[in-house]
Symmetry: C2
Subunit: 282 residues, 2 copies
């Protein structure tokens, strides 16, 4: 690897990739106007280097860089990527807030894998509609990765999965777990779901509706055998899935809830569905 370059001037343009991180998702100078992919902390930075996203710069406090680069695997992954050492006050001024973790990396976005290609090898996918909360999307990635979901597919109204906060909450799993947005061939996005059905997926909506089937029954056929391929649909907190999306699925499934309580958080509901899916396959 190259050497570590010490930077003391917060205005140094070599730090531009980690400048104003609170507003980093809006970068009209980059293709698509979206920001770079930002990873924070040694675990997630390591996952960024191991990912398909080409890293442009590694930035950190001297001690944090030293400890990160002391791992031979990390040193090899960093290779010729520029490495900039900055002190805490300088980084705070550049990033726009006190970045106490003291280690971050910025990478370029890459073209998404098409949905069709993802479906070739997937057996369990989750489809998101109207999930606008970054923390929920991050948790969905973490839970999906942890329980063997093959991919996340994005319908209408979802927040950007590569936003900085999503990367952090997902613990970097958004950098490893395949995801894709539907192509937008149709006027109503729900018709895109036909692509899943054509690929042999059983489509299951998650809903708090008490008249829906028990989740455990929805993931198996009439003989109690698990469906070979399952696509679980989840909607945003509050409105849930649109009626249009639910109508496009084969069955509506519910997690039984105690009376007079609130529906579960979307990432929690999804985690339960992922668990039930793995349970049905054991």
């Amino acid at each position: 690897m190259g050497g570590v370059i010490r930077i003391e001037d917060p205005a140094d343009p070599r730090l531009d990739d980690v400048r104003n991180l609170n507003h980093s998702d809006n970068r009209p100078d980059l293709p698509g106007g979206k920001g770079l992919v930002i990873a924070e902390g040694p675990l997630v930075v390591g996952r960024l280097f191991a990912s398909r996203f080409p890293v442009r710069a590694l930035v950190g406090f001297p001690a944090k860089l030293e400890s990160f680069l002391a791992e031979p695997a990390n040193r090899a992954a960093v290779g010729e990527t520029p490495v900039y050492a900055v002190d805490r006050a300088t980084l705070a001024e550049v990033a726009g807030f006190d970045m106490h973790r003291g280690l971050l990396a910025a990478a370029e976005r890459v073209e998404e894998t098409p949905v069709a290609e993802i479906l070739e090898s997937a057996r369990t996918v989750v489809v998101l509609e109207g999930v606008g909360d970054h923390e929920n999307i991050g948790s969905l990635f973490r839970n999906a990765a942890g329980m063997g979901v093959d991919a996340l597919l994005f319908g209408n109204g979802c927040a950007d999965p590569l936003y900085r906060r999503v990367v952090r909450v997902s613990m970097g799993h958004v950098l490893r777990t395949p995801f894709a947005h539907f192509g937008g061939t149709y006027t109503t996005w729900q018709r895109e779901l036909e692509e899943l059905r054509a690929a042999g997926f059983r489509l299951v909506s998650l809903t708090p509706d008490a008249s829906a089937a028990h989740l455990a029954d929805a993931l198996v056929d009439a003989a109690g055998r698990p469906w070979d391929k399952i696509a679980l649909l989840v909607g945003g907190e509050g409105p849930g899935l649109t009626e249009h999306a639910m109508r496009a699925t084969d069955i509506r499934a519910r997690i039984p809830m105690a009376p007079d309580t609130d529906s579960l958080n979307v990432a929690t509901s999804a985690a339960i569905a992922f668990y039930e899916r793995q349970r049905s396959l054991r």
Copy 2:
């Protein structure tokens, strides 16, 4: 109910119960040195009024109070509780930050129900050890309430369940779902778990350990019948349960995880266990 009193002076002592809310958990002037119970927003404020905690004051922007009190049930619940109307700038100065929800209530703490009394009618309880994160505790309450868990019991090293952030994240379920701390009769808290066993509970530890039993198998007996009474033990993120606590249980249970991923968030793991428990009882 009494009238709504307009207050314009941020120094007015009648607003002391909602002063400096970022530091409100430390109140040396109150019994035990802990803060009042603070509820924010109409849903949680309504649940506070319906709870066992005696409300001392309702405070809000004039329009928020009006809309809250327009509900006859809320008006009846408020009764003779003092109601103070303040504008946004005044409330921000009193609370110490911009409280955009514009409606909050403060109540007194009450004595906890003893563990023994809670166990008399409970069939499913969750026991927490070392869960220090307020958001996790709040989510645990929300998930427990949603999936019919009867009570939360606190072992060593947990954060205060009545902290403001817990109340908010739990959506007020901490005000409705029974909880208690173990009495501290023994030097090591894990011996308190004997009280659960004496009451007929099967004790189940949740652990990511791959050699543990599948969760689904841990909640039923050898014949596949659900145990009558189950106590689920969960530990804090990172360290998990202590070995001492796990040794005091009847069985260790795991949620199967994909290789090379991170363990689930504690509230998410618990939600899956609550789901499996209800599933075993259906």
